[in-house]
């Protein structure tokens, strides 16, 4: 079965990617200005204190020993303790990352729900009023920075109309979902604009394809032709773009969480960078990188499912 083979091969490719991520994270954190010891001690530490903390953190060891210890602890999901919050990094990630994932998934869902039907309308009414209106509106959405868009939505739908909460995060599932709608929409708009444009172009390309003429020549109903023959083929390139955009979406979540005061991984990341909380930065970076790699993997699998020519 070529598909299983494809999945196995693709999973094996994940290993070098993860090793590379570990190396990059390890090097990057040590390139950051300032060092953790002085972050912990402030500027009042004696030489003896510095030596003690360095020993505790393992910073006095040779660099390859440090890397080996780093890999070993990452493998056992131990990212050390947060210097600022004094709690295990794994626990912090487990607490904050699901919020960001939920925000990103909701944003992804909203962008698809916006992009797919509108791309259809725009493509099938090519160069007509509807097409121009949709493209124009998305052009505006695309050219506006996320934080500005967020503030506008917040002012209009939160502060003015009171339809949505202005910030924070609820307690129950539905309350949380409710809190996430506005930030997720903010995050979704620019992605949906990109997806819409891509899918519109793909649909236009596919509509003129000979196999669509053949489907018409078979006397199939227009709706069946659109879904089975046009959409299915047009989605292939858009799915790839969508998967690759999830990484960007996670990056955008950092800004959105700040604007909407959501206690997610993005906020934690920003706070930790300011606080030189290296173990947290390190742990979060790895977690996010793994998440993005897994998304790419899922994208490839979805593409292989949609396009039988991929898995060969």
């Amino acid at each position: 079965m070529p598909l299983t083979e494809f999945i196995v091969r693709r999973l094996l490719q994940l290993i070098p990617t993860l090793i590379f991520i570990l190396i990059v994270v390890f090097v990057l954190v040590r390139l950051l200005p300032g060092d953790p010891t002085s972050a912990i001690l402030g500027d009042r530490g004696t030489d003896a204190d510095i030596a003690r903390i360095n020993r505790q953190l393992g910073i006095d060891q040779p660099i390859w020993v440090q890397f080996w210890l780093f890999v070993k602890s990452v493998m056992s999901l131990d990212f050390g303790n947060s210097i600022v919050l004094k709690r295990p990094v794994t626990e912090l990630i487990a607490q904050r990352l699901p919020i960001t994932v939920a925000l990103t998934l909701l944003a992804a869902l909203i962008s698809v729900l916006l992009a797919v039907p509108l791309a259809f309308v725009a493509a099938l009414r090519r160069d007509k009023l509807a097409d121009n209106a949709i493209r124009g509106a998305f052009q505006v959405g695309l050219s506006m920075p996320v934080f500005y868009l967020g503030l506008i939505l917040l002012t209009v739908f939160g502060a003015r109309l009171h339809w949505f909460p202005v910030g924070g995060y609820g307690d129950t599932f539905f309350d949380r979902l409710y809190h996430l709608i506005l930030p997720a929409t903010t995050l979704a708009l620019s992605l949906s604009a990109i997806l819409m444009r891509n899918l519109r172009a793909a649909i236009i390309g596919v509509v003129d394809a000979e196999y669509v003429s053949f489907a018409r020549a078979k006397g199939l109903a227009p709706r069946l032709i659109l879904i089975r023959h046009v959409l299915r083929n047009a989605l292939i390139s858009t799915v790839t773009l969508f998967g690759l955009s999830i990484g960007t979406l996670l990056g955008g979540a950092v800004i959105t969480e700040t604007v909407f005061a959501i206690p997610g991984a993005g906020r934690l990341m920003v706070d930790s960078i300011y606080g030189r909380d290296y173990p947290v930065v390190q742990g979060l970076t790895i977690a996010l990188a793994v998440l993005v790699s897994v998304t790419f993997l899922l994208t490839d699998l979805l593409q292989a499912y949609l396009d039988p020519r991929v898995a060969r």
Partner: protein, 330 residues
């Protein structure tokens, strides 16, 4: 003479472009009789493919069709969209030039056959599956049960064309429209597909309208033929008559450009120049700038298509001179 299966009367197809209206097909009339293979011949841009697609209105958005296409007592040109969907694929099927692009790359062949059956027959899903296997057998694809679940890219070029024919035949059409179905194939495969089409015509009693630029293919398969130039039919007749005594200078030129074996080595005749674009069709006879027989009248007056017998018609002011010049094939 039997009543025609399909009767095309003064069919014109126009494309409305930002630069004006282009007439791709101009007052084309012909009949297709039951069980006959009718060839539509011409160079690229002569309007033969657009004519074929106009029959069941399979044209891109923005094209308009005038005239009458009479099919079983009904005019396909004026028919509602819902009604013509019953005709398409059910009574009149179509196969295309390039099976690689005409088959949907992401669907297994099974789906591409059964969706036709679902639209036009009352078969249940096991009935459709059985019919799909039967169809692959009919068109000569071995190991049908397994191949049904394969995708177009797993088929060879010839097998793809067979699969496309199987799809077109699914609901027992009475007429098959074939748009250069062998042009993209190797010569050996081409022969196999032509023989398959001939067998199918005999076994299933279908008629075929065969669009091609290849006169060799016409000679091997067709009963009657029409030669198109710049959107009009310029000569029509039985294949034997036209090949033996072409009466239009263009037909004569086309016949002169086929390489032949078994004869003394002679120069291949080619027609000078290129066919006109739709936006700049010459006045008078559209062929006159390329014609060795052209005189003043050809530049001024467009020749009508004159009937010369039950099966024969020509649109040329100098048809007698062309006929007297003799077929280059003789």
């Amino acid at each position: 003479m039997t009543a025609p299966l399909l009767s095309v009367q003064k069919l014109s197809t126009r494309f409305h472009t930002p630069r004006g209206v282009l007439t791709a097909v101009n007052e084309v009339s012909f009949d297709v009789r039951p069980g006959e293979i009718f060839g539509l011949v011409g160079e690229s841009g002569s309007g033969k493919s657009v004519t074929l697609r106009s029959l069941t209105r399979l044209l891109p958005y923005g094209a308009t069709i005038d005239g009458v296409v009479l099919w079983q007592g009904q005019d396909l040109v004026g028919m509602s969209d819902t009604a013509i969907r019953k005709v398409r694929g059910g009574q009149i099927s179509m196969i295309f030039q390039e099976p690689m692009t005409a088959l949907n790359p992401v669907l297994p062949i099974r789906v591409q056959i059964t969706e036709n059956l679902k639209a036009h027959t009352d078969l249940d899903s096991s009935g459709r599956a059985a019919r799909a296997r039967e169809l692959l057998d009919i068109v000569g694809i071995p190991d049908a049960a397994r191949r049904l679940d394969e995708y177009p890219h797993q088929f060879s070029g010839g097998m793809r064309q067979r699969a496309m024919i199987a799809i077109a035949l699914a609901s027992n059409p009475k007429l098959l429209l074939a748009d250069e179905p062998t042009t993209a194939l190797d010569v050996t495969i081409q022969d196999q597909i032509l023989n398959l089409l001939l067998d199918l015509r005999d076994d299933l009693g279908m008629s075929v309208v065969f669009v091609t630029h290849d006169l060799g293919v016409v000679a091997a398969t067709c009963d009657r033929m029409a030669v198109m130039y710049a959107g009009r039919i310029v000569e029509t007749g039985t294949v034997t008559d036209v090949f033996r005594g072409p009466m239009h200078a263009y037909t004569r030129g086309l016949l002169g450009s086929i390489p032949r074996s078994g004869t003394e080595r002679s120069m291949l005749l080619s027609i000078e120049g290129t066919p006109p674009g739709l936006a700049s069709i010459p006045n008078g006879c559209a062929f006159h700038p390329r014609c060795v027989f052209a005189s003043d009248i050809c530049r001024e007056k467009r020749p009508d298509l004159r009937p010369l017998g039950p099966d024969r018609a020509v649109a040329c002011h100098h048809s007698d001179a062309v006929l007297a010049a003799g077929s280059v094939l003789a």
